[in-house]
């Protein structure tokens, strides 16, 4: 095979890169994951720091360096990064505050980094889950199952809808328009009569081509009546419509 498949993906080796997109545009690229949490995780990893004891001053400095570079970036992305920058600075300042060294107070005092650590861990968990999904989908793509077998249900040929009927009707109608008609006397045919004719035809012939049936009509009025009769018979009688090709003739069949 021309290309070996990548079965796993190490998110952590993805390096942030600053590329020059055009003359006055810099782009920060952090693999495909570009969010403040990713940048932070990357920096922590880079500094080989313990996630539970983040050297906040150092990490904040590093982080701000990247954010400064990102000022050239679009605001919406940078916005998320700025919020995190503010959070980091806040944590940093909190940690610089002198602590009271009473034992009780120390126990009670919450580490200002705690919330961030929890967020980072949560984020990390889902990154690992994403990795698992990546592996699963790769394996799954090596599995093939059978394709569809043609059945009445998925075969478009036997599924004629009212719209298909309309299309056939439209076709005949337009053909009739072109014919020069000499109407000598006004023939009235009622829907009831038309229904009777249609029923008789179906029961005699078992299969009736709608194209043929409509073709026998001479006037627009008769055609319309015939069309309604077909709709009516489909609704009330045990008949089936079958169309063998798209936009082709429709066969009315007795069940």
């Amino acid at each position: 095979m021309e290309q070996t498949e990548q079965l796993s993906f190490d998110f952590y080796t993805e390096k942030p890169q600053i590329t020059r997109e055009s003359r006055d545009e810099l782009k920060l690229h952090l693999g495909e994951f570009n969010g403040p949490l990713d940048l932070l995780l990357y920096l922590i990893k880079q500094e080989q720091a313990n996630i539970f004891d983040i050297p906040i001053a150092r990490i904040t400095d590093e982080y701000l360096k990247y954010v400064r570079l990102m000022k050239h970036l679009d605001i919406s992305v940078a916005g998320d990064f700025l919020v995190m920058a503010a959070t980091l600075i806040e944590i940093k300042s909190k940690m610089l505050l002198p602590k009271e060294i009473t034992e009780e107070a120390e126990e009670e005092m919450e580490d200002p980094r705690e919330l961030l650590v929890r967020q980072l861990l949560e984020h990390q968990k889902f990154k690992n889950a994403a990795q698992m999904l990546y592996e699963r989908t790769t394996v799954e793509q090596a599995v093939f199952s059978r394709g569809k077998i043609e059945s009445d249900e998925n075969n478009a040929e036997t599924n004629a809808s009212v719209f298909d009927l309309l299309t056939v009707f439209q076709k005949i109608l337009s053909r009739h328009k072109e014919e020069v008609q000499m109407e000598i006397e006004r023939e009235e045919i009622t829907l009831a009569d038309m229904l009777k004719t249609l029923k008789k035809r179906i029961f005699e012939q078992k299969e009736l081509s709608l194209l043929e049936f409509f073709e026998e009509m001479h006037t627009r009025r008769e055609l319309v009546t015939a069309f309604i009769a077909v709709l009516e018979i489909v609704r009330t009688e045990s008949v089936r419509l079958r169309q063998t090709t798209t936009f082709g003739d429709i066969i009315l069949k007795k069940i």
Partner: protein
Amino acid sequence: MEVEEKQPRSISEIVSITEALIFVADEPITVKTLADVLEEDKETIEAAVEELKQEYEEREGGLQLREIAGGWQISTRTEYHEEVRKYLKTRPNAKLSLAALETLAVIAYKQPVTVPEILEIRGVQSASAIKTLLDKKLITAKGRKETVGRPMMYGTSKDFLLQFGLKDLSELPSIEDFEDLAQGM
């Protein structure tokens, strides 16, 4: 009406019919559907499917029988994907971007979940990833959350189970399993 005394089927017959049905079904076929078609009870079908599965495993052929997305399916074994692809002249589908995968992971584990909740975990806007996942039908909208702004909630779809080879959502490894990994970094 013909009155015909129905002979009870033998177990091996049930196993064979089950195999035939799983073979023709174009998507994973459920035990219930099998039971309905065979007019047997679910327990009998379950036993038959298990036996069939064992037969496939013992034979070690090119096919496997497996439970996926709530049903049973016969498919090729992963080992032979190169030859199968060569014949079908297909290439692996374009993979999801890592951002989309991460968003999908959040949705899979936290469903039903809203966009703001996804943002909180990912720390970044996920609109385009969500659109991709919706387009690929891996996730579906699951109504609105009764909270400020009534945000849309998302969850995974049946296609998600199919594409990731999962029986059901409970087959996903527990999210806590990833915690050790996270702390080990």
